[in-house]
Symmetry: C2
Subunit: 149 residues, 2 copies
């Protein structure tokens, strides 16, 4: 399935930080582990901070820390912070104004799919992710990018 790249980044970041939930991570340290393009990572981290999922500490030896209890952060919570407003109650065909005096074949089927997805995303929390680790946190993506900061 496909979320936006940004959403995938956010999911990785939060999952990674959940491995040590009290710890204050610097952007450098996250970069070292996740290899997300550094400056973009920086931007994303401040976004996540503003959204309330992370707390940021400025100054030397500053960084980011997860703001709430892991059990209170669902994967959907994370996904919603990065603009991926998928899984809303939309028409399968992308219509905004279907009258459906009689529903088409996809209406209920697709509603069930959405329900299924939402169920998984809202009930799975970072706590569960932490417990079931480890998974690989280094993405190859065989892409090479520079850090220089």
């Amino acid at each position: 399935m496909n979320f936006s790249r940004t959403t995938e980044y956010a999911l990785r970041i939060m999952s990674f930080m959940a491995m040590n939930e009290q710890k204050l991570y610097s952007a450098n340290e996250i970069y070292a582990n996740l290899k997300i393009p550094f400056r973009y990572l920086r931007k994303l981290l401040t976004t996540l901070s503003k959204s309330g999922l992370l707390i940021s500490v400025q100054g030397k030896s500053g960084g980011y820390r997860i703001s709430k209890d892991l059990s209170e952060i669902s994967l959907l919570d994370i996904i919603q912070q990065t603009g991926d407003n998928k899984f809303k109650n939309e028409c399968f065909f992308g219509f905004h104004d279907c009258a459906f005096v009689k529903k088409c074949a996809m209406h209920d089927k697709w509603a069930a799919v959405r329900e299924n997805i939402n169920q998984v995303l809202t009930t799975t929390t970072l706590e569960e992710i932490k417990e079931t680790g480890p998974h690989s946190f280094i993405s190859n993506n065989n892409s090479v990018f520079t850090k220089n900061d």
Copy 2:
């Protein structure tokens, strides 16, 4: 849920044409019913023709017709022609190289979601869509665009 706009267009086009599966539709006629930006619609129609889902007839009084029996065209068939290669067997987090000596919490859950989606998309054919019509084929999107061709 979100497919690309182009995929949504393709789904609408094919579903609409399925309502009268033998008929030769001109781009003009499809435009009149679906209000997809005209020149983009034209482009898409030739794409669908090249992909084999439609047969095109050139010249005056030409147009497009669905190429196969409706029961042989699944929604997934349509989706796959427009580059939306979603629902592949990918990692939830977007990793390409997870070792998973021990699978993370999302691995099987997400595989089940994908399976669910694929099931719906491969088993639902245009025939079924035709039978369960009508649904609205006019999208408002309150967007105004010109035709001029």
